[in-house]
């Protein structure tokens, strides 16, 4: 039975996604408990996979019992199972948070008002949960698959769900953000499909492990290089690598906050995971060394992204926009870890995927609590927020520590490994840049924290806010905040297997 865990972790949310709207015809309140239950099942299954993967290096599952190059193979290595646990955990927390966010209690004293309460009509709620389950299944399938066309199909499922989730409020700005997002992402997906077709036309295979062997010995080496570039561009749009990031600030700041948390915490990371997978599992054997010119282009783009994201984040006055620009900066860190093509830096990048995913999801959820409770979106309106919403503010502060990279947090571990990695591979300048980025992150994060905790509310503001967010929302943010601390403290358990896995990956396995 245990070998079927991976496929059922993916298929169960897919099935539940179509069942949730049916059930909620008769039982309107069952949508969220069902979603939560199914995501818990996925989380448990993914967690149970971890010891199996650690024991054997990777897990291969042949769908339809066809041996690999003929059928589709699930190939879960340590990076895959690591991402699966992260994805299902964050999706579960976001689902729990969404319950009160999209269906707020009616105000008793007239003091609470919810920002999105009007936009998320009752009829859209089952659709929302359905899309949440689909996007979770898509991400799980994306990281678990060992077939490049199957990867593209899951990528498109993820993309369609994310366009829809951005547009779900149905008001002016989210619709425009979603259109902008689609206008960049759909051509990028087509470039990726074109790259896969080119690759298929010169190798004749779609299985990644098989392709790795064929691409290394192919007669059409220039075609393979071009297809690699096209594929990287396709994924880089999704990953918002620097010049292709234009869609990100709008989409992330105009979407409902739980969706922003998902987008920022997980979906943009899928682009980078895709880049890492195709680079090392497919094209690794084609290039003489992992450090090709493509990775160095990505490295310099990442360096620009760090500075650009930090400067733009400091300049913002809108809370969610600031967090969105901070995401661009942190994606720069992760891309840098990939671009340096050094084991230590890659470990740092992957750890940063997790640390930043948890912390950024927490920041967006906190912003969502604050906005839905008070209606304030500007940073200067947050003065004195601590007096009314202590738990949310504490969670925000803890997550900020991780984004900045203060020692006991997960963000610190990631950045530490990035600095070490850039020194190892002979780019001390980039190491300095990482540190400078941390300082700039401290400027924009601690400004908000300072406003929240140490300044009195100005004038009449915060008078009408009745108090802390509902327990499920505050609890979800606190769990994420504590997780971002705990993952830093528990890094000694996660890092050794991660290091081994990255070593194997870089060696072309």
């Amino acid at each position: 039975m245990s070998q079927h865990l991976a496929i059922y972790a993916i298929v169960t949310p897919l099935l539940a996604a179509v069942l949730v709207p049916i059930v909620s015809i008769w039982r309107k309140n069952w949508a969220m408990p069902m979603t939560g239950l199914v995501l818990t099942v996925s989380l448990v299954f993914s967690t149970l996979l971890v010891p199996q993967v650690r024991a054997s290096g990777y897990l291969s599952y042949h769908l339809g019992s066809w041996e690999p190059p003929f059928g589709i193979e699930l190939r879960v290595d340590f990076l895959g199972v690591f991402m699966m646990v992260l994805i299902s955990a964050i999706c579960l927390i976001v689902a729990v948070y969404s319950r009160k966010y999209i269906a707020p209690d009616t105000a008793k004293d007239g003091k609470t008002f919810f920002f999105y309460a009007e936009e998320m009509q009752e009829e859209k709620r089952p659709v929302y949960y359905s899309l949440l389950l689909l996007i979770c299944a898509a991400m799980l399938g994306f990281v678990a698959t060992g077939d490049i066309f199957n990867m593209f199909v899951f990528f498109e499922l993820m993309a369609i769900c994310s366009y829809a989730l951005v547009a779900i409020p149905g008001t002016r700005l989210p619709i425009r953000a979603a259109i902008k997002y689609m206008l960049m992402a759909v051509p990028a997906a087509m470039l990726a499909l074109l790259a896969i077709s080119l690759l298929y036309s010169v190798t004749g295979s779609l299985n990644m492990a098989d392709l790795a062997g064929l691409a290394g010995s192919s007669d059409y080496s220039r075609v393979i290089t071009i297809s690699y570039v096209l594929l990287i561009v396709g994924f880089a749009v999704k990953a918002a690598v620097f010049p292709l990031h234009i869609w990100l600030p709008d989409a992330h700041s105009k979407a409902p906050s739980p969706v922003s948390a998902l987008l920022s915490g997980l979906i943009v990371k899928m682009g980078i995971v895709g880049i890492i997978r195709v680079t090392y599992s497919v094209y690794g054997s084609h290039f003489p060394s992992p450090l090709s010119w493509v990775t160095s282009v990505l490295m310099w783009a990442a360096a620009v992204a760090i500075i650009y994201g930090a400067i733009m984040a400091i300049r913002q006055n809108d809370l969610k926009l600031m967090i969105a620009y901070s995401t661009i900066m942190n994606l720069g860190y992760i891309t840098l870890g990939f671009g340096l093509a050094d084991v230590t830096a890659l470990v740092g990048g992957v750890y940063q995927i997790m640390g930043h995913g948890v912390a950024k999801a927490c920041l967006f959820l906190c912003a969502g609590s604050i906005i839905s409770r008070s209606g304030y979106q500007k940073i200067e309106d947050l003065k004195g927020a601590y007096r009314k919403m202590p738990l949310t503010c504490i969670a925000f502060a803890l997550a900020s520590l991780s984004v900045v990279g203060i020692p006991p947090t997960a963000g610190f571990i990631g950045k530490w490994y990035l600095v070490t990695g850039s020194l190892n591979s002979g780019y001390p300048f980039l190491g300095a840049l990482v540190l400078a980025g941390s300082i700039m992150a401290a400027v924009y994060c601690f400004r908000v924290v300072y406003y929240m905790f140490f300044l009195p509310p100005s004038g009449e503001s915060w008078q009408n806010v009745s108090g802390e967010a509902p327990p499920s929302m505050a609890g979800a943010t606190l769990v994420l905040a504590i997780a971002s601390m705990a993952l830093g403290i528990a890094s000694s358990w996660i890092l050794p297997p991660l290091r081994d896995a990255m070593g194997v990956l870089l060696a072309g396995g």
Partner: protein
């Protein structure tokens, strides 16, 4: 300015792509990597292994059935996305759009559709039933059903079509394909093989192939019904709008 930059960019892209194309192996050559690697097995053993004479159906339903499962999910994700954008209920189809489209619910169009519908239904059912051995399959047949429902709702009016196929009925029918894939896959797992295996090792050879035929038909019909329903639902969702009898809409 924007035009010039775009032209340069597209020109560069076109040059790069044409250059790539010139490097590719000649089209249709039997020695191409695509014709040497995986495909010979599909050609030689596809019919007996996968149980379908149509090898495209063999790849879609059998060798790469998992892709198809995700693909039909994408279709329902798109429908969910459209509901998320446009809303689902408490909306009516505004007659003025149909009037503007110049469609009259006349006797002639009604009769034509009445005569056409059986043909479309027979065509779709045939396409789905024999999709495993002849060109066609669940997707094509389903899209044909969808087109048929579209025509009949144009002829008889969207109000009537919508009453017959209410939102709830459509949502329930929409789940057929994924449920079919889940059930068929789980039967494979219970039978001791991997997910989406149709030839169960636990059975005798005769019942194996009977079960496989049944499973393939279940999948084909699941996909067909689902695709047809989703095409119809998307059309209804695009046609519907809030009842704006008291608010003059900007034109």
């Amino acid at each position: 300015m924007k035009k010039a930059v775009t032209l340069i960019f597209i020109g560069g892209l076109a040059a790069a792509l044409l250059y790539t194309v010139a490097l590719l192996p000649p089209m249709g050559d039997a020695d191409n990597p695509t014709n040497r690697h995986i495909v010979p097995r599909y050609h030689e053993r596809g019919e007996e292994e996968a149980g379908t004479g149509n090898l495209v159906a063999a790849v879609i339903l059998n060798y790469r059935g998992y892709d198809t499962m995700v693909e039909v999910t994408i279709f329902s994700a798109a429908l969910a996305g459209i509901f998320a954008v446009l809303g689902t209920v408490r909306k009516r189809i505004n007659r003025s759009y149909i009037d503007r489209a110049g469609v009259r619910f006349s006797f002639i169009s009604g009769t034509t559709v009445l005569l056409l519908m059986p043909l479309i239904i027979v065509f779709s059912a045939y396409t789905i039933l024999y999709g495993t051995d002849l060109p066609g399959g669940g997707f094509q047949g389903g899209a044909a059903i969808g087109a048929g429902v579209m025509i009949s709702s144009v002829a008889y009016g969207f109000h009537r079509a919508q009453r017959r196929l209410s939102h709830h009925v459509r949502i329930i029918l929409e789940s057929t394909a994924i449920s079919a894939f889940f059930v068929v896959g789980t039967v494979g797992v219970i039978g001791g093989a991997a997910f989406l295996t149709y030839m169960l090792p636990a059975l005798t050879p005769g019942s194996q192939s009977v079960l496989r035929t049944v499973m393939l038909l279940v999948l084909q019909f699941g996909i067909g019904i689902k695709v047809g329903i989703i095409c119809t639902s998307i059309l209804f969702a695009l046609m519907m709008e809030e009842d704006t009898s008291d608010v003059e809409h900007a034109s």
